[in-house]
Structures are given as C-alpha cells and as structure tokens.
C-alpha cells in the first residue's frame, strides 16, 4: 500500500513510524502513522486521549466507526473538527488494534476542499493497514460480558468474577480463541495458563452438545472436590472450523445457578472475522493521485 502512494506523496520517517506529505507540502496537510503504540487502552480512552492532545477549539467528533482491516483485525475511525489558531481544521483519526498494541493513523488538512478526501484516505489506510500478526494465533473475540460480573484481565484471558466475589468465589473464564491446529508449544501454554486445575479432583463428568447462532461444540460438566469442598466446573468448547473458543465456569456446588450465565455468554460469541480482500483493487492510487491539482 505505502509504495503505491510514494510517487506523489513524500514519505518521512520517524522513530515511531512514518509521515506522508502530499504534493504542495505540509501546508496542504499530511498523514502521520505511529506504529506499535502502547499501552493498548479501551477505544474510548484512545480517542479521548488523542482528541484532548489536539488542542482544537470547539471540538466536535463523528461517532466512532468500527472497521475491519483486510487482515481481519479490528479498527475504528472518527473525524474531529474544530479551530486551530483561528483556522477551521479537520482531523481524521484511525486506530488499528493489535493484541497488546495499536497503530494510530492521523490525517489533517487545513484546506476545506480536501476534508472529504482526507477522511477517505485515513479510512482506507486503516482498512488496508497491515499489522502482520498472522491469522492463526491466539486472539480475543467478541461476546456479551456477563452483566454484573467484574472482568479481571490476564493477558488475552478474561476472568469474570461473580457479583459477590470472593464470598461467592464463582469465576467464568473466557480464554482466547485458539487455531484448530495446535502444536506442542500450544499444549504447554494451555497447561500453564488455562487448565491449571490444581486441587480440583473430578468425581464424575457429563457432556452435552451445544449449538449457538455461529458455533457448534459441547459443554463438559464436572463435579468434584477442591480443598474438600464440592465444586462444579463446566467447560464449554465451541468451534467454527478455524478456531476453538473455550470458556469455563468454576463454581461452588450452590453456584450452579451461574450455569445460565455461561450459557448466555457462549450464545453471544461472535467468531473471529475472516480476512477480506481490499474493497477496491487499488483504492489508494486514485485517492492519493487526485490530491494534486
């Protein structure tokens, strides 16, 4: 993508990424791409922090538009308007979101006739941007968080603590999606980070098939003891042919009512997106070339 724009735009290098300067120079505006930014924060915070740093008077922003990149990564875009040193300014910000970092794309122009083009350019850059993380990797996925439960993040895993935790020491753990093809390293990772059932002694188990709007699989239910106290463990494993999606409810015997929470959560899982080809064969060539008068 970037080589396609170089003939008409000037590429500038920075410690944390690159800048793109249009024909006519910086007075026409430009685009700044910052790679591998940390810490990764909620999308609301990323935009809020970025917007507050722009120092625009009379700031207004379009609603965040969720995007998917051609690699199947999540991204979001918004356009901010305001005045800077008396000039009406428009900035379009896009964030392309990795697992623990993000790329920020920031397009600006003071030329009102270019506002629409800049919006389109930043959006297309975000759509086409490559994080290069690879498709077949452990990833977070979308689901409806259990209402009233407190989400405790452990890297890509989220441990949802029951509303009365720790008095009610029920947990609902959502593990990252895993590619269906596993290696020995993956097996070790599961043992270290996901199925550390130390102290839980299953007494019996039962398996039920499960079908959700997007996935199929099963829930395996265990009854057993931990530290001499009865525990119930329900392990849901769903698949979409590419990834497996595993979640686990671990509850005391009287926490059996939480099974409905697990059922609702797995029903809400949205499979990871499938990478899509670019919307057009060479969108950036046209968009960038038309910038020049």
């Amino acid at each position: 993508m970037l080589p396609a724009v170089l003939p008409s735009w000037r590429l500038e290098r920075f410690v944390d990424g690159v800048g793109l300067v249009p024909p006519g120079g910086r007075t026409q505006g430009g685009i700044r791409i910052r790679d591998r930014q940390r810490p990764l924060k909620s999308i609301t915070y990323l935009f809020r922090d970025a917007a507050s740093a722009l120092a625009l008077d009379g700031l207004d922003a379009t609603p965040l538009e969720p995007l998917l990149t051609v690699e199947g990564e999540y991204a979001a875009c918004s356009t901010l308007t305001g005045t800077l040193e008396g000039h009406r300014t428009e900035r379009t910000l896009a964030f392309v979101l990795g697992d623990d970092h993000y790329t920020r794309i920031d397009g600006v122009t003071l030329v009102p006739e270019r506002f629409g083009q800049m919006r389109a350019l930043v959006r297309e850059l975000a759509h086409l941007y490559s994080l290069g993380l690879g498709l077949l990797r452990r990833r977070r996925y979308l689901y409806e968080p259990p209402r009233g439960w407190s989400g405790y993040p452990r890297a890509l895993t989220t441990e949802w603590l029951a509303p009365g935790y720790p008095a009610d020491d029920s947990t609902l753990t959502v593990f990252p999606a895993r590619p269906m093809i596993e290696t020995g390293a993956d097996t070790l990772d599961v043992m270290l980070h996901e199925l550390g059932w130390t102290g839980f002694a299953p007494v019996d188990a039962a398996t039920q098939p499960v079908t959700t709007p997007h996935l199929t699989g099963h829930v395996r239910s265990y009854r057993g003891l931990r530290d001499g106290r009865p525990r119930h463990v329900h392990l849901a494993i769903l698949e979409d042919g590419r990834f497996s999606y595993m979640s686990r409810l671990d509850a005391p015997a009287d926490g059996i009512t939480h099974v409905a929470v697990l059922r609702d959560l797995i029903a809400s899982i949205i499979p990871l997106p499938i990478p899509q080809p670019p919307e057009r064969s060479a969108p950036t060539n046209d968009a960038f070339a038309n910038w020049s008068d």
Binding site: L40, K41, S42, I43, T44, Y45, L46, F47, D49, L64, P66, Y74, A76, L97, R140, Y141, L142, Y143, E144, P145, S150, G151, Y152, P153, T158, G164, Y165, P166, A167, V174
Partner: protein, 137 residues
C-alpha cells in the same frame, strides 16, 4: 485498574485512594509505607494499630492506624486500608489534623473501607475485546 470505594465527604478528613499495584510480598511493611505516604518534611509515622478485616463481599484488607510526628509533636492522625485483590493490591488513606477528629470519623471511614473493591477496567484498561470495539458510555 483502580481501587473503588463508596465514601462520603467527611469534614476535616482527607480520604484518597488510587490505582492498583502488584501485590507486595510483605503486606505489613507495605501497610506501613501506605500510612507514611507523603510525609511532611522532618516527620515520622508511628504505627499504633493493625487489624485484619474483610470487605462486605469478602476481599481481605488490613486497617492500619498511626500518627505523624514532627519534633515529638503529633501533627496528623492517619488511618489506612490496604487491600489484596488476587495478584494486585490497593490502598486508601485517611488523613485528619488530630487524633480526636480521626476518632470521630472512624466509624464512617471503616464503613467506607468495607466497600472497597477492584475496578479492573478503570483508566482504560482493556478487560475484553468489547472494550476495543464498542465505545464505553
């Protein structure tokens, strides 16, 4: 990630709490450090008491009480709550100008401390993918 408290404003008492930190190896030493936070110049803190408690939902925490001394004169009274939330820890600190003021406020402070809980998603911490895709209200 921050400590969350439900606490009313208390006259003449400053109550502060903040982000979570990794759980300390030595909780008693950490509690003393919390009580001694931002001491005035030339001051020391004398610890007068230490009590293990649990919040209303069962999170363990220690209450530590003491005074700040400058030139052998008590200049502040302090009461701290030091919580342990799984692998993290959080603290709240109440500062009063005198022991009498702190004693009068103690029931309200202890009730507030009992509401302590972790807010894992505070300050934009990503709890799950939804935080990256769906704007928070």
């Amino acid at each position: 990630m921050r400590l969350a408290l439900t606490a009313p404003a208390i006259a003449d008492v400053a109550l502060v709490w903040g982000p979570l930190r990794p759980g300390p190896d030595d909780t008693a030493r950490w509690a003393t450090e919390v009580l001694a936070a931002e001491l005035p110049a030339g001051a020391r803190v004398d610890v007068h008491g230490f009590e293990a408690r649990t919040t209303t939902t069962g999170w363990p925490y220690d209450v530590v009480v003491g005074v700040v001394v400058v030139d052998e004169r008590v200049v502040q009274a302090r009461l701290a709550a030091c919580y342990r939330f799984l692998e993290y820890a959080g603290a709240a600190l109440a500062i009063a100008p005198t022991v009498d003021v702190l004693d009068a406020a103690r029931p309200v402070l202890l009730a507030a401390f009992a509401t302590g809980r972790p807010d894992w998603g505070a300050d934009g911490t990503v709890v799950c993918l939804r935080d990256l895709v769906v704007p928070r209200s």
